[in-house]
């Protein structure tokens, strides 16, 4: 079967539906002779959110770029939707990325384009119908509660607004996998909570699979212990101090996975590094 046949349009099912959405098998990468990630093994099943914690410079962003095929690993295999992305030709990898939304650390908005054009970038490139584009842009901006900024340019937006536009841009094709690179990095606590609430809304309303990288423990705790109430349009704590069953926490230590499990497992861990990290 040709690879083209295995890469369907975004609104179609993709790859093997029974396979994990993301699968890292013995993945390693280094730069200039220095190892950054070593023997990384993990999976994210459909609807699961994996929160990657770790100190700054620990390879968290590199992990997301590997997951999106923006960087090739030095060793190991990365599978998305059951497909080995290293074997996909470049052209097909670009097509394949329509199923993946990515929010970059510093938003990475195109500063010479308006918010409307940033959010609709992918649809414009796919030469979609203009009416359809306008409708979907408005839907996404409404989702991030930023309709009023549609004609503004990125330099006119605050840090929090830029992140919200970046989220709108990432979700416009309703991707099956979302990659968040430190979505709350450099933001004040109130704005950070707003962003986490949006991430949670996306997780609970659309049940998309996600990898979220952060160095803020608070983000992980909030995402694991809260859920989004669509009726009241706000997040709320899960009853009886419960935790979200679809949220997994992964901690990186010097390029290796030091912990994988639920929030409860994390809090119970006897590992000295984890205890020091939580302290």
């Amino acid at each position: 079967m040709s690879t083209t046949e295995t890469v369907p349009a975004p609104d179609q099912a993709i790859g093997d539906p029974t396979a994990p959405v993301v699968s890292f098998e013995h993945v390693s990468i280094g730069f200039d002779g220095h190892p950054v990630l070593l023997d990384i093994n993990f999976q994210a099943r459909s609807g699961e959110m994996v929160i990657v914690l770790g100190p700054a410079g620990g390879g968290k962003s590199v992990l997301l770029k590997l997951a999106n095929g923006l960087l090739p690993p030095d060793a190991g295999r990365i599978r998305l939707f059951g497909m080995n992305i290293q074997t996909l030709p470049q052209d097909e990898l670009f097509t394949f990325r329509r199923h993946i939304g990515m929010v970059f650390q510093e938003s990475a908005l195109f500063d010479s384009l308006s918010v409307r054009d940033n959010v609709s970038y992918r649809l414009i490139e796919e030469r979609d119908n203009q009416e359809d584009i306008d409708r979907r842009v408005l839907e996404c901006l409404r989702f991030v509660e930023l309709e009023e900024a549609i004609d503004k340019f990125p330099p006119e937006l605050s840090g929090g607004m830029k992140r919200r536009v970046a989220i709108a841009r990432a979700i416009i094709t309703q991707p099956s996998l979302l990659l968040y690179d430190s979505p709350t990095g450099g933001l004040d606590p109130i704005t950070s909570t707003t962003i986490i609430e949006l991430v949670m809304k996306q997780r609970d309303v659309y049940e998309s699979t996600a990898l979220l990288v952060t160095h803020r423990l608070q983000d992980a705790f909030t995402l694991a212990t809260h859920r989004f109430n669509l009726k009241e349009n706000r997040m709320e704590r899960i009853e009886n101090d419960g935790i979200d069953p679809n949220t997994t926490i992964m901690v990186l230590k010097q390029g290796r996975i030091a912990f994988t499990g639920s929030l409860v497992d994390l809090l119970r861990s006897k590992d000295p590094y984890i205890q020091e990290y939580l302290a």
Binding site: Q90, D91, F94, R98, R122
Partner: protein, 255 residues
């Protein structure tokens, strides 16, 4: 830095540049084509460079006529000023000066624009959004620079000869004689040489500008460094390739 490491870096840079150049050319024959980006770049590079090319060409032709007429007068050969200006402009100065001017204006512009996009992760964002930056950003710049530089060179050549004529008439040379000599001396190999050069120079300007832009590292300082390197490398390569093309055409056509 050790000499081995230094050489390794240079070899890798040449490899990356060659790969980018080859991909930019190959993309001209692969879908999708970004026509709107091509027209925008053609307008920016071509129409935007017209004023500096007009001024440079006109005054270069003028100063060439001034110096050559003064020297030729000592041998009683002032009448061949048109021949000298015309050949110099069409074969050498027109293409080289236009290339250097466009390099200063556009290789730097490409390196700084793409470099800023690189350090703010906009290039990665573009790839993440399913768009190939080499197709969207590099290929339109390369193609439009090659095409527009040919036309800019023709403008420069024409204005240079006109500028020489203007100065010559002030030095007592008959304008009709000047333009007649300027026209009569040109042969097809001269025109061919003068039009092949901008094709090569355009390719050098755009690929060097895009290469340094796309390989920018190190924040705003890195953008500044890339911009400078793009102008320096493209200018040196233009002069170097000019020598090679001239030697080649002399070898083939004997002039």
């Amino acid at each position: 830095m050790e000499i081995g490491e230094f050489l390794r870096e240079k070899v890798l840079a040449v490899q990356d540049y060659s790969l980018l150049s080859w991909t930019a050319i190959a993309n001209m024959f692969r879908r999708p084509f970004y026509w709107a980006d091509l027209y925008t770049q053609a307008d920016l590079i071509g129409f935007g460079s017209v004023p500096i090319v007009i001024l440079t060409g006109f005054f270069t032709g003028g100063v060439l006529a001034l110096n050559s007429a003064t020297t030729l007068a000592q041998f009683g050969a002032k009448a061949v000023t048109g021949e000298l200006v015309s050949l110099s402009m069409v074969k050498e100065l027109g293409p080289v000066l236009t290339g250097l001017m466009v390099s200063g204006r556009n290789a730097s512009g490409m390196a700084s624009e793409l470099g800023s996009m690189q350090v703010t992760e906009q290039i990665d964002a573009m790839r993440a959004l399913g768009v190939d930056p080499l197709k969207k950003l590099v290929t339109p710049r390369v193609l439009s620079t090659i095409v527009m530089l040919v036309f800019l060179t023709i403008i420069s050549d024409s204005l240079g000869v006109a500028g020489g004529g203007w100065i010559s008439s002030g030095l007592g040379i008959n304008a009709s004689q000047y333009f007649h000599m300027a026209y009569q001396t040109l042969e097809y190999p001269d025109i061919l040489e003068g039009l092949v050069k901008p094709l090569i120079f355009g390719f050098i300007i755009a690929t060097i500008g895009c290469y340094f832009g796309m390989s920018t590292r190190g924040g705003t300082q890195g953008v500044g460094r890339s911009t400078t390197q793009a102008v320096v490398y493209s200018s040196v390569l233009i002069v170097f390739s000019d020598f090679l093309i001239s030697r080649l055409t002399i070898g083939i056509f004997g002039r």
